[in-house]
Amino acid sequence: MRKLLNTLYVSSQGAYLRKEGETVVVEVGGEKKLQLPIHTISSIVCFGNVMCSPFLMGFCAERSVAISFLSERGAFLASARGAVSGNVLLRREHYRKADDADSSLSIAINIVKAKLSNSLAVIHRAIRDHGAKINVNLLKDAANKIKRLIKTLSDAKDLDEVRGYEGEGSYEYFAVFDQLILEQKEDFVFNGRNRRPPLDNVNATLSFAYVILSHDLRSALESVGLDPQVGFLHRDRSGRHSLALDMMEEFRSVIADRLVLSLINRRQIAKKEFAKSASGAVTISDSGRKTILTEYQNRKQEEIFHPYIDEKVKIGQLFFIQANLLARHIRGDIDGYPPFFWR
């Protein structure tokens, strides 16, 4: 099993990243803050005004280390990648499958099934752990509705139908999401999902968690030679990493949402980390983002059993494993795409 390598997050404003020998050097205010051998990291994420030398970018492209540039608030700006390489046959087959309605449909159904079943896992866990404190009937009701959707999903005839079930499923899930917030309820009120910009503390945290998750999936897909822009469930749109978004569906609830919930419920993040601008958009402070990133990185080190490959793996490795399984399905080595079902 490939070793889970670390991600370097640079959020110091005015930082400058450059190459020195085989290492990445981070300078802040002309002072060397960190020097790391390139083989210890798998990707770099820059927040806000962070500069990278072109030589470092070229070096990272050569070593397939992904670099993403995000705004200070965490909105995606750009990513750097080197010359297109890898397996051209795999990529061609990927495009053919994406153009073919039946193949796209079967992959999309599997992904949405996993997404809904994983949101169920989050709800079930809340019932199990905190049944005394929350409105169990409401949660059970939503869980039953989602269960029914999963059953009907197998009979979906086209992608629009799948998208419809997915929308309904996430609506049911987010309708009870507020119930899963157990602590600091007055500061973290959730009334449905909103974004661009997020209008409350919970949505701001969720959006930020999704951005870092999508960076990880994009680099996992690139590392197995798939084109992260060509999706099955999400349609092509210039600049959008549709396939990364597809793959994210499996992990949103169990990785990002659970992360957000535990940050709030364990009081690791508090009201003072959030600010509301005149337009109503909510932003997260530097220290708040640091807390989220630290917790996210820690979570990726936790181990979990992967039923399909029958092995214990780190959560951070799941992205690579799923990308690999998708590539194997596209190549024709396995009949269907086996998504990851959380237990």
Partner: protein, 96 residues
């Protein structure tokens, strides 16, 4: 695995300063400098073979010395740090 590399280079000999510089650069490519002539390198066996042969080509075997300490995979329990210049944990979240 983690290897601790320490070295002594006789800088008074001819080309000593150059060897010292080249040794420290080679080590920095694979690990982190924890003290002036001490590097902790977390690497794969193949990388270790590469680094080792690079280092042994640089030094002058008559006047310089290299010492390797093999700390294995569970090195964290075997390392304790006191005082200035704490090392960074490359498995922990890296946020600058």
């Amino acid at each position: 695995m983690t290897v601790l590399i320490t070295y002594d280079v006789a800088i008074s000999t001819e080309g000593g300063a150059k060897r010292l510089r080249r040794i420290s650069k080679a080590c920095a490519n694979y690990g982190q400098r924890v003290q002036f002539s001490v590097f902790e390198c977390a690497l794969e066996p193949a990388q270790w073979v590469k680094l080792k042969s690079a280092l042994e080509k640089i030094i002058d075997h008559k006047s310089d010395s290299l010492r390797y300490y093999y700390l294995g995979a569970n090195c964290k329990n075997r390392i304790e740090h006191i005082g200035a210049k704490p090392s960074i944990d490359i498995d922990a979240p890296l946020i600058i």
